[in-house]
Structure formats: C-alpha cells, structure tokens
C-alpha cells in the first residue's frame, strides 16, 4: 500500500512539473488574422534599441507587426547556427558583414535581386562602394547595409607634435619615421600599436600596397609583390621594436599616458576613449589611413538580410526599406551612435561637424570589404598565426608565407 503512495507521489511530482513548465511558457501565440507579424533578430544593444524605430514603422504600416528579439553578440553565432540547422529562423536577420558570405554560401539568406526594382532605397548607388561588396554573394544580393564602420588612425596630437608631426603621418614612410621617433622618447615607449589578433589589419596593409584579392587567381594573389611587401612592412614594426609584441598596457590606458600614441580602430573607440580617458580630450583626434599606393581601409558593420524560408518577404522588405531611409538612419545615428550606411546621410551636419567623425567620412570614400569568401575566416586566422610565428617565433617571413599560401589553397580547395 505504502509503495503505491510513493510511486503515486512521484508520478504526481513529475506531471505537475511538466504541466507547470508547459503553462508558464505558452504565451499569446499568434495575433489577429489581419496583421502580419515579422520577427527580427538584432544584436546586443542594437537589438534592445531597435524597438524605438519599430513603433513608428508599425504606426505607418498598421497591417504589419514587428517583433524584435535581441541576441547577445557573443552567442549570436550559436543561435543562428541552430536556426540554420532547424530551418527555424526569423524573417529579418542582422548579420555582421564578415558573416554574410558564409551564411549566403549555405543558402541561408534569401536572394532579393527580384525585388530590387520595387525598393529604390536598396539601389547600389545609395551606398559606399566598399559596402556594396558586402551586399552580394556570387551574383546574388543577400543583404542591405544597415550601419557601417571603417578603421582609421587614432593619434595623440600633443605627443606627435613633440616629435615634429603637427599632422598625422600621411604615408607609410612618414608612419615608419614617426613611429621610430616616438619609440625613441625613452624606455617602455612605443610608436604604434597594431592589434595582432585583428584579422583585418594585415589585409588593410596589403590593400594599401596595391594588393587585390582574387579568388580565382593562383594562391589568391598571396604571392604577389604587393602582398609580400605589405607583410614585410607589417612585421618590420615588431622586429624593429617600435610596435609592442606583447599586450602590455591596455590600449586606452596606454593611449592616455602616451605610451602608445597611435593605433588603428573603428568608430566605437571614440566613445570608449571619452568614457575611459576623459582627461585627454582635445589632445587626440582621428585621421585617414596612411597611404602607400592608396590609403585604403576596411569597411564593416552590419547588414540586414532575410532568412531563406521567410513567409513574409514583402513585409520584411518593407521593414528593411523603412530602416534604410535616410531620415530613419539619422534617427538611428542619434539612438545607437552607429554610422549610417547611406551616402546621402553623410551630408548631415552632425557627421560633417564632429571633428572625430570627419576622418571617417573621408576614409569611407576609399574602403574595401573583407573578401566575400565563405572560408575567409579560416584563411585570415591562418595568416595571423603565420605572422605570429614570424614576429614572436623569429621564423623567416618568406618561408612562412610560402607555407601559408599552400595552407590557404588547401582551405579553399
């Protein structure tokens, strides 16, 4: 008898728990039939703030309801991967530009070429040429640039003045010269900080030296003089001891006390410096990249894509189109502090007058996106390891690059 009581209790506990779990989760499924709900996955803080724009969109389009799900940057990849595997994705998806080719290659993103004529906001001439590259994969259009970023040079005006530079170094030779002089200020001082874990940096140098990525060329042009020369230039900073090989002081702090007076970074750094080192306001600014053949920098940011099996394509396009209107983009600049992708938005006074943003506007005219190749991540990481072996391991650059080319070919196959 007692036996039964216990097993009964157990069964009860089990069923109650599942019931409870079921109840607490089944919310208001599906809304009334005359409105369509589209789901949008947006990242991190942007995802939280996007709600401010969707309200207006819903007011203008009462038949469409927008549900934004914010997804943390750190784990966005896990989330999207499970969505791809289960075909259980959103309608609209924010993607970092470096992810586009990979997910487009897997056919996870809808080709919106057939709809382009209906939406003038999506025309290529509206965007910077560097970002137009991020819209496409092979001959499909898979994403619309939402906001962008590019790398520029951050430097301490006062410190550079000390070594005779009243302006930012404008060429490779000047950069080398300034860096050498800055290092000579004393022990533990450096000229330039190059983030050795940033995979786009070597490519920026290569582009500046005239390198062109070509997926069809043998070794993807990694054997060209322009590429090899750029890697020599890149590694020379470390070999000559004028760029730090170990992390040392964290960059903002080192910038603040003048230990590392020059570095390359994106627009997000403006706020970080203002927050973490308010003391040096007025003693630093930004400038376009130094040039060799050109002064090319990279372009990144985020695009908005439509998940391949979305059932609400028209509504989703309408939403993306709304987000990418010049006025909405300027509003978004105000809300989220990211740079608008529309060229026309840059005529706005805010972007023209802010001294730190000026260099970004100028730099955007000469940018390239990271190569649209599904295996790019693996190749770029391989290149970083190769350079690390040269810089820290003291290996020979020529032979290591030789190995890298073989490896890169293997990755692409």
């Amino acid at each position: 008898m007692k036996k039964k009581v216990w097993s009964l209790a157990l069964v009860c506990a089990l069923s109650v728990s599942t019931l409870l779990a079921g109840c607490s989760s089944s919310g208001d499924e599906g809304s009334s039939s005359d409105t369509t709900t589209i789901t949008v996955w947006a990242m991190g803080g942007e995802g939280k703030q996007l709600g401010q724009l969707t309200e207006k969109f819903e007011a203008e389009n009462p038949e469409i309801e927008v549900e934004v799900q914010a997804i943390p940057w750190d784990t966005a990849r896990d989330k999207i991967l499970t969505a791809v595997a289960s075909q259980n994705g959103p309608d609209v998806l924010q993607l970092g530009t470096t992810w586009v080719s990979e997910f487009a290659d897997a056919d996870a993103l809808l080709d919106i070429t057939p709809y382009l004529d209906d939406y003038p906001d999506f025309k290529a001439e509206n965007y910077f040429s560097g970002s137009v590259e991020t819209m496409k994969f092979n001959d499909k259009v898979v994403g619309i640039p939402w906001y962008i970023d590019t790398r520029v040079m951050y430097y301490r005006t006062d410190v550079l003045e000390e070594v005779g530079y009243s302006n930012a170094p404008a060429t490779w030779d000047e950069l080398k010269d300034a860096t050498t002089k800055l290092t000579a200020r004393g022990e533990d001082f450096y000229g330039l900080d190059i983030d050795q874990n940033d995979q786009i940096n070597p490519f920026i140098f290569a582009w500046q030296n005239g390198y062109e990525f070509d997926a069809d060329a043998e070794y993807m042009n990694f054997d060209s003089e322009a590429f090899v020369g750029a890697m020599e230039y890149y590694t020379s900073f470390f070999k000559e001891g004028i760029a730090p090989t170990t992390e040392g002081l964290e960059i903002v702090q080192a910038f603040k006390n003048g230990v590392k007076p020059i570095f390359f970074s994106g627009p997000w750094m403006i706020n970080i410096i203002n927050d973490q080192a308010p003391e040096i306001e007025g003693q630093w600014t930004t400038a376009v990249m130094p040039s060799q053949e050109t002064n090319t920098s990279s372009i990144g940011g985020s695009v908005l894509s439509i998940f391949h099996n979305s059932e609400n394509v028209e509504e989703s396009l309408k939403f993306i189109s709304y987000i990418n209107e010049v006025d909405t983009q300027l509003e978004w600049l105000d809300i989220a502090n990211t740079l608008p992708s529309r060229v026309a938005a840059w005529e706005n006074s805010v972007l023209q007058e802010d001294p730190h943003l000026l260099a970004f506007g100028e730099q955007l005219a000469n940018t390239k996106s990271s190569p649209q190749l599904a295996e790019f991540e693996a190749i770029a990481q391989e290149l970083l390891s190769t350079l690390e072996r040269v810089i820290l391991g003291g290996e020979d650059l020529e032979t290591q690059l030789e190995k890298f080319r073989e490896k890169a070919n293997e990755i692409v196959e």
Partner: protein, 298 residues
C-alpha cells in the same frame, strides 16, 4: 515467466534510475551518437542548411587530425595541463578543507564562503584582474619581483610559462567546488574513530594518514575522476586569457575543437577531434576504475 517475475521483484533500481537515464539518453547519449556519425562526414555550414550537401568521407577527418600540427600541439598542451594541474587542485582543495574543518567558529564559517568565491567570480572580472597580475610590463607580480631584482617574466607571452600561468589560474578557480565536496565528506567520519586513535596515542599525522585519508577515499576518488575529466576538457582559461596563443602554446584540445567547429564551421572535423578527446578521457577514467577495484580489496 520467471524473468518477468524476477524483474518485478527487482524493479526498484530501474525505477530509481529511469528518469535520469531517460533524460540522459535523449539529450546526451543520442546527440553523442549523432556527433559520432558527424565525425565521419564533411558536415559544414552548407551541410547544416541542407542535409543533401553532407557526404560520408569515412576516416578522412581522423586522418587529417593525424597530420594537423596544431592538433598535436593541443594534445601536448592538454596533457601538460592535466599532469600538473590535477594533483595541485586535489592537494590544495583537500588541505583547505582539512584546515576549515578544524574549527566551527564564525571565522571558519565565513572562510568556507571565502574559499568558494573564486568559483563564483564573474569570468570577465577574472580576466581583468588576472590579466593585470600577469601583465609583463605593468603587472603586479612583475612589479613585486622587480623589488627583489628579478627580471620581467612574460607570464602570458611565452608558450611554456603561459601554460603554467593558466594552470595557476585554473587551480585558483577550481579549488572551491572540490573543497566543499571534501568538507561534506569529512562530516561522514565518525568522531569515535579519532577518539579511539587518540587513546591509542596516535599523533596528528598518523590520524591524518591512517584515518582521515583512507576514509575519504570515496570522495578523493570522485574528485580525481571528475577533475581529470574536467581538466582534459580544459577550455575556459585559455579561451579568455590567451585565445590559445602565443604560437599555439596554450591551445587545448577543447579550444581546438571549438575553433574548428564554431569559428570555421567545420563540424565534421571538430566532431572527429572531440572523439579523439573522448577516447583519451574514457581510457583514463576506466583505468581509474580498474585501479580502484584492486585497492578496495585490502
């Protein structure tokens, strides 16, 4: 008929294990079998999106692992971590548990919590504080060493030293959980054993080695097995502190698997790597169970 009756009579253990076994089967064992299958395929992002893109490639992933230098290095590093880290964790957590068991005043109660703190400290705080301690040029440790005229040590900048630095960090972080397990186990030792030993004139060390440690065997066994399993999957410390560098000097097998699976989307290759790791772990674990069988006999 007889077996059914037998089963009815012996059904209790099965009822007891049923919920756990069902859950583990569905959410762990089946996925592991799926992963094993994946390790014989070229599954990548394309295959994930459309299963018709997946092809069976037999042992090719395993063959490439054999010739992957980074993977070899990750195996070497993993064993380096395990060989030095595991004994240290067990030694420190047991010592601290014994010290904490010494008294029951408020001080000792508080310090049970204090020694548990590292395991609940947010990982970003860990990275920032330890990053500062280990910083070559501005770090606290090198500053203290400079006071006694020791040259700067590149704590995270040289492959072997970086491994040791990560072991120290992981030991610091890993003490807490094992400590409370030992503390709980210490409560199971009847006081009368000690009283008897005292009457026999046994000193403190004799009591430690002839009563405490033997009676803690079941807990030590548990901690050893789980710590070994955990350390063979060493991941978080290199992930946050060094990303596997410098020169792949701190990359562990788990980090290697993570990089290939999540950064490069080579799921088939990553799965193959994880089964190599699995084989190492299961050999080590079974070995411990074997050794233990022989030691319960005496």
């Amino acid at each position: 008929m007889g077996t059914v009756k037998n089963l009815m009579k012996n059904r209790h253990p099965y009822i007891f294990i049923a919920p756990a076994i069902i859950i583990l089967t569905v959410f762990s064992i089946i996925p592991i079998v799926v992963a094993l299958f994946i390790s014989f395929t070229d599954l990548n992002l394309k295959g994930l999106a459309d299963w018709s893109n997946i092809s069976f490639i037999g042992l090719e992933n395993y063959a490439s692992l054999l010739s992957d230098e980074v993977f070899h290095r990750s195996i070497f590093n993993t064993f380096f971590y395990v060989i030095f880290g595991v004994p240290l964790v067990i030694f420190f957590s047991l010592s601290i548990a014994l010290l904490l068991n010494y008294g029951s005043s408020l001080l000792f109660k508080i310090f049970r919590g204090v020694y548990y703190m590292p395991s609940i400290t947010n990982i970003i705080a860990v990275a920032v504080v330890w990053g500062y301690l280990y910083n070559t040029e501005y770090g606290l440790i090198n500053y203290l060493l400079s006071l006694v005229h020791v040259d700067k040590i590149p704590w995270l900048g040289e492959p072997t030293i970086a491994k040791i630095s990560l072991i120290i960090l992981a030991v610091w972080k890993g003490i807490g959980i094992n400590m409370i397990i030992f503390l709980a186990a210490l409560q199971g030792i009847p006081k009368m054993y000690y009283e008897a030993a005292e009457i026999d004139g046994a000193n403190r060390f004799q009591r430690l080695f002839y009563i405490t440690i033997p009676l803690l065997r079941f807990a030590i066994f548990f901690v050893t097995v789980t710590t070994l399993i955990g350390w063979l999957q060493f991941f978080e410390e290199p992930f946050i502190m060094t990303k596997g560098g410098p020169l792949d000097g701190t990359i562990s097998m788990s980090l290697f698997i993570y990089k290939n699976g999540f950064q490069f989307s080579e799921f088939g290759y990553a799965a193959a790597g994880s089964f190599v790791l699995f084989i190492f772990i299961i050999i080590v674990t079974l070995l411990q169970f074997k050794l233990r069988k022989s030691d319960t006999d005496y």
